[in-house]
């Protein structure tokens, strides 16, 4: 039994779904953040696998970009969460609905 590219794509789909479910179901901002990371990395996996299957480097290039953006996003996002936690003593996103119209 050979491991084809479909396996990678399946794994990526599973990871993406887990991430998406985590994002939608959990209330702790920190955990939601981790879920987003999961989704991002599942996409990275897709890129790398697809790039390998097609035989060019575009996929790997895209992954590098995603990683850079994700790193920046984590920095800012974590800082925001820390600040919010200091102010409100909670990281529960349901309680952070100040933008309600």
């Amino acid at each position: 039994m050979t491991v084809t590219v479909a396996w990678y794509l399946m794994l990526a789909a599973v990871l993406f779904t887990i991430g998406g479910a985590g994002l939608l179901l959990r209330r702790n901002a920190l955990v939601m953040f981790m879920s987003i990371e999961l989704m991002l990395n599942s996409v990275n996996l897709t890129f790398v696998a697809a790039g390998r299957a097609i035989g060019n480097l575009d996929g790997q290039l895209a992954v590098l970009f995603v990683m850079v953006v994700a790193a920046a996003e984590v920095t800012v996002g974590l800082a925001i969460i820390v600040m919010v936690f200091r102010k409100r003593s909670t990281a529960n996103v349901d309680e952070l609905s100040g933008m309600k119209g």
């Binding site: 998406g20 994002l23 939608l24 939601m32 996103v93 349901d94 952070l96 609905s97 100040g98 933008m99 309600k100 119209g101």
Partner: protein, 625 residues
């Protein structure tokens, strides 16, 4: 070469700018000295430049400044001929004296430097007006004069009446300017130029004598002149303009602004010569205004208002003069009037100053002893305006009347009107003098009249000297002024007094009218008890036949109503309604869309995810977007 004449305009202009910017540093009295020195220098420069004309025969020259509107061929250019030279000397000379007087009169005013800035601006504007070599430059001066009069009349703008008077002067003048501007457009359309030289030289070829076009142009010019020179029916701003400081009244009503109309008609004599009808209208408007304003002056109690109506009346004489083509006589009267009316206003200012700002003649009387210099100088002006020889007013007024009489026909009626006005003038001026300087002391308690400081009396004395002798420059035996002005009116058919013994009889008649007026006033006010002058008839006169009320009801009120309609209906409901309606619509839509924003991150996440899944589905099903 008189290229340097531009300095005479630049100096007061520079003074105005300097005092507006750095007036506080000059302070009092520095600002006054500075402004007076500049005005005086302007006069000296004008006098030096005019030297050539005294010899006679010199036609003057054009002084090119810069190309202003090359597309229309309009240059900023001055015309230095005997007429503009005379006007420059009168304006800057009398103007300088009034500046000097103001140093004393405005003492202690909190906006002292600004006052002199405006005075300098006024002087510069008037000089631009009289020096312009084309209608465009003249119009610039014309408008600047309107602006500076507005600034000066409402100088004490804390007083609502002063602010309103300034506004009134400006608006009424704008009505006149409107006519003037249309006339300029017609002139440009006809001649393709606004230069005096081009227009007057080609007038005979391009315009039919007595034709419609030239008549319309000249009548529109008259509208402009009537606005600036306070003739019927646009005179209403002038009496109210007394709200300004007294030196301003002297400057506006004697030396500068109001003479602009007379100057303009004289300058455009070549056009009026082609339009006998318009010239007749000018003369008639002048005569009627002269009589009309004189009757109102009889009933005024405010010393400055008497002089204001007297100015309107005297301007009527000037219009009569230029209307019958006696341009020299009209300009002559303009000049003598500048002297004696400036003197009267400054004298009245001196009286008001001494009486602690009291202007009602009922509260004066017996001031002869308290203010000998003011009294003596004003007495000369009184005799001058009453037409008693040999004082200045007699010669100029008589020349106008004689020239009018000599025109014959219906002009004799105008002569009679002028003669009656002469009698009335002598009467109301005597009334002013008798009520102010003779009789009982009717002063308010605590008022201690005193002679004014030298700054104020010196200009009075100088003007008194001029008012006494200035008439002698153009007597029937020695027509110096006429020779002086001759080059400026070359080619025009000037009206002259009749030959033979008739002028003597005419002069006798006008002197008789003057003496009769004085005698009647003497009997009425100095022999026995002075009459009370109350009752409806006197109210009618004191309120100027209620013309202001009439204008208010027929013109101002409908205007206000229309403005209110526009402001509170068309604007507030129509335009504002449309704008606010758009806003309200957007707001309501937003109100509906608001619930979409729940503030819960999960909801947003679901929507994004749903959207992404949806896009993927579409791509999968259709193969493309």
């Amino acid at each position: 070469m008189v290229d340097f004449i531009w300095i005479a305009v630049a100096l007061p202009l520079l003074g105005a700018a300097t005092l507006l910017l750095f007036g506080k540093r000059f302070g009092e009295p520095g600002a006054g000295y500075f402004a007076t020195a500049l005005a005086g220098t302007s006069f000296v420069i004008g006098a030096i430049a005019a030297v050539d004309f005294f010899a006679g025969g010199h036609h003057g020259e054009l002084v090119f400044l810069f190309s202003w509107i090359p597309g229309l061929g309009i240059d900023a250019e001055f015309l230095w001929d005997p007429l503009s030279a005379l006007m420059t000397l009168v304006v800057s000379g009398v103007g300088s004296l009034i500046h000097l007087y103001s140093i004393g009169y405005m003492h202690g005013d909190e906006r002292y430097p600004r006052f002199f800035a405006y005075m300098n601006l006024f002087l510069a504007s008037m000089l631009i007006l009289v020096l312009g070599s084309n209608f465009a430059v003249l119009f610039v001066g014309w408008e600047l004069v309107g602006l500076s009069s507005y600034l000066l009349i409402s100088f004490w703008f804390e007083k609502p009446s002063a602010a309103a008077a300034g506004k009134k002067a400006f608006i009424v003048n704008r009505i006149g300017d409107f006519g003037f501007l249309i006339a300029l457009m017609l002139i440009f359309a006809t001649f393709g130029s606004l230069g005096f030289g081009t227009v007057f030289e080609n007038a005979g070829e391009l315009l039919d004598e007595g034709g419609t076009l030239v008549t319309v142009i000249t009548l529109l010019l008259l509208v402009g002149a009537a606005g600036k020179s306070a003739q019927l029916p646009l005179y209403v701003w002038l009496p109210d303009a007394m709200e300004g400081p007294t030196p301003v009244s002297a400057l506006i009503h004697a030396a500068t602004m109001v003479t602009a109309g007379v100057y303009m008609v004289a300058r455009t004599g070549a056009l009026y010569e082609l339009a006998p009808f318009s010239a007749g209208v000018v003369a008639t408007v002048g005569a009627v205004t002269a009589l009309y304003a004189a009757t109102i002056a009889i009933g005024q109690r405010d010393i400055k208002r008497v002089l204001a109506y007297s100015t309107i009346s005297q301007l009527g004489y000037m219009f009569m003069g230029v209307g019958v083509a006696a341009y020299t006589a009209g300009i002559f009267h303009l000049m003598t009037h500048a002297f004696f009316k400036a003197l009267l206003f400054l004298g009245a200012g001196s009286v008001i100053h001494a009486m602690a700002n009291e202007q009602n003649m009922d509260k004066m009387g017996g001031l002869r002893k308290a203010m000998p210099k003011t009294f003596a100088t004003m007495a000369i002006a009184w005799l001058a305006i009453s037409g008693i020889p040999p004082f200045a007013g007699f010669w100029s007024k008589d020349e106008i009347l004689a020239a009018t009489f000599n025109k014959g026909g219906l002009y004799v009626v105008l002569w009679i009107v002028g003669l009656i006005t002469a009698g009335l003038t002598a009467y109301y001026m005597s009334r002013l003098m008798f009520l102010t300087f003779w009789g009982e002391k009717r002063w308010d308690e605590g008022v201690e009249p005193h002679e004014s400081p030298n700054f104020m009396t010196v200009p009075l004395i100088v003007l008194a000297g001029l008012a006494a002798v200035a008439g002698l420059i153009n007597t029937p035996w020695k027509l110096s002024l006429e020779h002086f002005l001759e080059p400026a009116f070359e080619g025009l058919h000037l009206a002259h007094p009749p030959d033979g013994a008739t002028p003597w009889l005419l002069a006798l008649a006008s002197v008789a009218a003057g003496v009769a007026g004085i005698a009647y006033a003497y009997r009425r006010f100095l022999v026995g008890e002075a009459p009370a002058e109350t009752g409806p008839k006197w109210d009618l006169l004191e309120n100027g036949y209620y013309v202001d009320d009439l204008y208010g009801k027929t013109l101002v009120l409908p205007g206000k109503k229309a403005a209110e309609q526009l402001a509170f209906t068309a604007d507030a409901k129509g335009i504002d309604g449309a704008v606010n309606g758009v806003g309200a619509l957007v707001k309501q839509l937003a109100e509906k869309a608001k619930p979409l924003q729940t503030g819960l991150v999960r909801n947003y996440g679901v929507v994004i995810l749903g959207g992404a899944v949806g896009l993927v589905l579409i791509i999968l099903v259709r193969g493309a977007l």
